[in-house]
């Protein structure tokens, strides 16, 4: 105990005696530990830990599949869902929901994300309401269904977290609902709802025909479905039984269910499958940073210990016990690691919330992500091991019976050996940082490429928002409403044109339908958009052939459609589609004539290939919610928001506007995840390069200090400053060159792993590789140049006098 205290005191003294060594070592470790822990905390929470539901790993996301396809994010139909519920023996409970938007009335009408769900959703996720109750089966009677459960977010934001809200009334879509419960903040079953309402027929109704009994709908797919596995049932068993049910339904309902199967994945996977590769890449990147940090510390310790080999040898020769010396060095290394770890915690504690704020919604939805203690322990242990390994090297070396050697030869023999280790470490650092740099470079280039993608419309001067009438409004009322809103907006000074559409590009939703050509049984499919006249002009979507839809395309007139280029390519390759017809595009949409062809729009994402699209006019087709696009004459579209709001309210004063923003903002939002990845990788790469530069600088400084005598002799023998400069820089750049070569080889292998995150640039893009190798070489040169300059200042007299 007394020895330990003594060791501690002595260790602190030694560290304080060389403050720059201590500072660099602690800072290096702290950056490595801090960033590793921060990223690991996020990854752990999002990927490894289960969702905040009891036995969350038993919850499956269930969906229809299409033969030949492997896409699980497919919605299911109500009739199929009801059959699954009735026939399966593998799930203890199943639930279905569908999201839509609704108008929450009051002083400030607000458009909220509304989820219509089966009451079973609440027992399935097994989360207790914070206030009141969840939905129950009595609520599913059409006479009883005007009850709502609020999310914590809506309750807090909109109702000031009023605990007395239970049993109070709220106005939803112009109807009165009673609030029966409030859910805690971690209840995000469908990642969507702000408000849950029951399904009057025991299964959610179709959002476009909400007043119709949906129980017979077998070919309308709009439900998200979950099931909780019965105890003892595996996912595989469940898959088998559900597939058997699907095959039965296929036989029973060949019209609608031909080729329709059932698939499932764990809720966890369904939530994080998009973000997972990103997080793994970031985890790998940050592991590199930690590795480089440890390498730096190893190098520093090795350099330092070289200077002490002699001291230790003398001590051993004088009879010091090996254990005393080992414990002394150990104390010092551990002190360093602990100091680095403590500072690392501070960095991580700051970095985790920053990461979460910066991140895409999948990460933000996890709410309170804290610093992960296991990760912290892991990082500190790794750095302690590094310290121990390299801090002890001289002690072990000295006590291996080589005392006389190192006394006699000074430090020559062991120095050479340690020199090689240090060289290898520096090479490794340069290589690792180049790999990171190239990874970051490729994602940055991808990002630039994505930004350069032509979305197919002109995003400048565009204001967009969502709007909709309550589902109780008739189809006519709705269609008229959207047209009136658009017309009213066009009368505003400052507005060039305006239009409404059922699905706005990059707004996160899509709807597709199948259709046929007259006289053919072949099935085609295309995305459906319902629009008012001049929506396409407002967006700046180019007309390639024929005409846009206009004021004359109304209910009762000849049913007409406009299609896009992708549609023409896939349905009428090499033909002129104008005047041709499509049929069976939905109930009552039988003979639709193509009157125009417009350019492609990147609807799903800027990176995603354009899809076949069909535009129909409101009136001839019908949709219960819409987005409005307003092309303004001013450079700041947001300045028009009050006027736009009043214009909408002059048509219907109960209707709220949702998500009012510029189109450019919408594009930016669609790029959040890509930007997140890019920013983090760039930060890590920069960190890695800085650490590698410190490492190189440290190694070369040490080498110069070790070579003072040699440099002095060389100068006495005629070496000029430039010779010395060349020699030292040459040595360092030689190491850097090997590191760069290894790094390029490593990158060629590693970059394939991130090719999924890249866009428009090859994983082995030579420009990126060469450019960044040169950047790193430049940094290496700077890191070499400073110690080299110092070497030229060696006074041969001083160097020669003392050996």
């Amino acid at each position: 105990m007394e020895t330990l205290l003594h060791d501690l005191r002595y260790g602190v003294r030694m560290l304080r005696k060389s403050p720059s060594f201590t500072a660099i070592a602690v800072l290096t470790l702290a950056l490595g530990i801090g960033s590793t822990v921060a990223i690991f905390s996020v990854v752990d929470q999002v990927l490894l830990h289960s969702l905040p539901y009891p036995d969350a790993d038993r919850i499956m996301y269930v969906s229809q599949t299409e033969r030949g396809g492997n896409e699980l994010h497919y919605a299911s139909s109500p009739a199929n869902y009801l059959d699954w519920v009735a026939q399966n023996h593998v799930f203890s409970v199943m639930a279905a929901s569908r999201g839509w938007q609704g108008n929450l009335g009051g002083d400030r009408p607000e458009r909220v994300r509304l989820s219509m769900t089966t009451a079973s959703l609440f027992p399935l996720f097994a989360v207790h309401p914070m206030l009141g109750r969840g939905l129950e089966s009595e609520d599913e009677e059409p006479s009883n269904d005007h009850v709502a459960v609020l999310s914590y977010g809506l309750w807090n934001r909109r109702f000031g977290a009023d605990p007395g809200l239970i049993n109070q009334s709220i106005t939803l879509n112009n109807e009165t609902y009673t609030v029966v419960g409030v859910m805690p903040s971690n209840f995000l079953p469908d990642g969507y709802g702000e408000l849950w309402v029951p399904s009057p027929w025991g299964v959610p109704s179709h959002p476009l025909v909400p007043s119709q009994d949906p129980r017979q709908f077998r070919d309308r797919n709009y439900l998200d479905v979950w099931g909780r596995l019965k105890p003892g049932v595996t996912q595989h068993q469940a898959e088998q039984e559900m597939s058997a049910i699907a095959r039965r339904l296929e036989k029973q309902y060949p019209d609608s269910n031909d080729g329709i199967g059932v698939g499932m994945m764990s809720l966890q996977d369904s939530v994080v499958s998009d973000i997972r590769p990103v997080l793994y890449v970031l985890l790998a990147a940050v592991a590199f940073v930690l590795l480089i940090g440890c390498t730096n510390v190893a190098n520093l310790l090795l350099a330092r210990s070289s200077g002490r080999t002699r001291e230790i040898s003398i001590r051993i020769a004088l009879g010091a016990g090996r254990r005393r010396i080992v414990s002394q060095l150990l104390t010092e290394s551990v002190l360093l690691a602990v100091a680095g770890g403590l500072l690392g915690i501070v960095i991580a504690a700051w970095a985790v919330p920053t990461l979460v704020a910066l991140g895409p919604s999948e990460i933000r939805d996890y709410g309170n992500i804290g610093v992960n203690l296991e990760a912290l322990a892991f990082a500190v242990v790794v750095s302690i091991l590094t310290g121990v390994l390299f801090g002890l090297a001289p002690a072990l070396h000295a006590s291996e019976g080589k005392v006389s050697d190192s006394l006699k030869e000074g430090e020559r023999g062991s120095t050479a050996q340690r020199g090689r280790t240090r060289t290898a470490l520096v090479v490794a650092e340069v290589a690792l940082s180049l790999i990171l740099l190239i990874g970051a470079g490729l994602t940055v280039r991808s990002f630039v490429r994505v930004l350069r993608v032509d979305p197919g419309f002109d995003a400048s001067h565009l204001l967009v928002f969502g709007v909709g009438l309550p589902p109780s409004a008739s189809a006519d009322e709705q269609d008229r409403f959207y047209r009136q809103v658009a017309e009213k907006l066009e009368t505003l000074p400052g507005v060039q044109s305006a239009g409404a559409v059922s699905r706005l590009p990059l707004s996160g939703g899509n709807s597709g339908r199948s259709f046929k050509l007259p006289g053919s049984a072949k099935d085609y499919s295309a995305d459906i958009r319902v629009e008012t006249p001049r929506y396409l002009q407002t967006m700046g979507v180019s007309l390639l052939k024929g005409r846009y839809l206009d004021e004359h395309d109304i209910a009762g007139a000849t049913p007409v459609i406009v299609v896009n280029e992708a549609f023409t390519k896939s349905v009428f390759p090499g033909e002129d589609p104008i005047g041709k017809y499509i049929t069976d595009f939905g109930p009552g949409m039988d003979k639709l004539q193509i009157v125009g062809v417009v350019g492609n729009v990147r609807h799903v994402a800027l990176e995603a290939a354009p899809r076949a699209e069909v535009y129909l006019p409101f009136g001839q087709a019908h949709w219960t919610s819409a987005f409005v696009a307003v092309r303004t004459k001013t450079s700041d579209p947001l300045a028009l928001v009050p006027a736009v709001q009043n214009a909408v309210w002059s048509v219907d004063k109960t209707v709220p506007l949702a998500g009012v923003r510029t189109m450019q903002d919408l594009i930016a939002r669609s790029l959040v995840q890509r930007k997140f990845t890019m920013t983090l990788l760039a930060i890590f790469a920069a960190l890695a390069v800085v650490l590698a530069a410190i490492g190189l600088y440290g190694a070369m400084s040490y080498s110069v200090s070790q070579r003072t005598r040699e440099i002095g002799i060389r100068m006495a023998l005629g070496a000029q400053k430039k010779d010395v400069l060349k020699m030292v820089v040459g040595q360092g750049m030689g190491l850097a060159a090997i590191g760069v070569a290894v790094g390029i080889a490593g990158s060629l292998g590693m970059m394939r792993l991130i090719s999924g995150l890249l866009f428009g640039v090859s994983a082995t893009d030579p420009v990126t590789f060469i450019l960044l190798a040169m950047v790193l070489a430049g940094v290496a040169f700077a890191a070499n140049y400073i110690p080299a300059r110092r070497a030229t200042a060696v006074d041969p007299m001083v160097a020669l006098r003392y050996e």
Partner: protein, 235 residues
């Protein structure tokens, strides 16, 4: 070739300055073979370093050939060193990481000598010193005497006009010492100027003039009157 006028060298010590060389006046003609003798600590090595342009911390005037060294900066002095001077260090100062061959090549690598010419110059010196068999060994694999031999060889490899040798035979046995001295004699006969520091009367006998250095003063130089007392009274 060399004229020192009132050259002084001092080191700062705790209280003030300690003088290591005082009022050195010395003339050396091209072709001289000068021996510097004196007790340990007299300042012999210090004087040699000044002559060899390795040291800058002195005051006074130093003319080398037609250069006023006291007016030159470090770079110019280094140029003179490289161009004219070969130096044998008292403690050899071989480069540990280089072989004997590479050690001999180092001074040539800093002069404008072509690669092929360097190889033949090194080969010639290895031959002359009969250390061809040792050319691939490292200094640590040589005895002290052998190291010294390499140190001398390295000083002469570039055919310098002036050889400054600080106890070049301190670690050699007499027959080896004799060979070195014979070599110096031969080089001197061919026109090389030599200044050597030695404790050995036998070595001194090879030179044509011996200077006695005592506590930083030139106590005896056959070409000059001893000056300490007179200058002391002036100073």
């Amino acid at each position: 070739m060399i004229q020192l006028r009132n050259v002084e060298r001092s080191y700062k010590t705790g209280a003030g300055a300690t003088y290591v060389l005082r009022r050195i006046n010395l003339d050396i003609q091209a072709g001289d073979f000068v021996t510097v003798m004196g007790p340990s600590g007299a300042g012999k090595s210090t004087m040699l370093s000044i002559l060899g342009m390795l040291d800058d911390g002195w005051a006074g005037e130093y003319h080398f050939l037609d250069h006023a060294v006291h007016k030159l900066d470090r770079k110019k002095r280094a140029d003179l060193n490289r161009q004219y001077i070969g130096f044998v260090f008292q403690s050899y100062h071989l480069l540990d990481n280089l072989t004997v061959y590479e050690n001999l090549d180092v001074p040539l690598s800093y002069r404008n000598v072509s690669r092929g010419q360097r190889a033949s110059m090194v080969a010639e010196v290895l031959d002359r010193f009969q250390i061809v068999g040792k050319k691939d060994l490292y200094p640590s694999q040589l005895s002290g005497g052998q190291q010294q031999l390499v140190g001398v060889a390295r000083a002469v490899v570039g055919n310098p006009k002036l050889i400054l040798a600080d106890e070049p035979t301190g670690n050699l046995h007499s027959s080896q010492a004799k060979e070195i001295m014979e070599l110096f004699k031969k080089l001197n006969d061919q026109g090389t100027t030599i200044v050597q520091v030695t404790h050995s009367e036998a070595n001194a006998a090879y030179g044509n003039r011996t200077i006695q250095l005592f506590d930083g003063w030139i106590a005896n130089d056959p070409k000059n009157e001893p000056v300490p007392n007179t200058t002391a009274s002036i100073g």
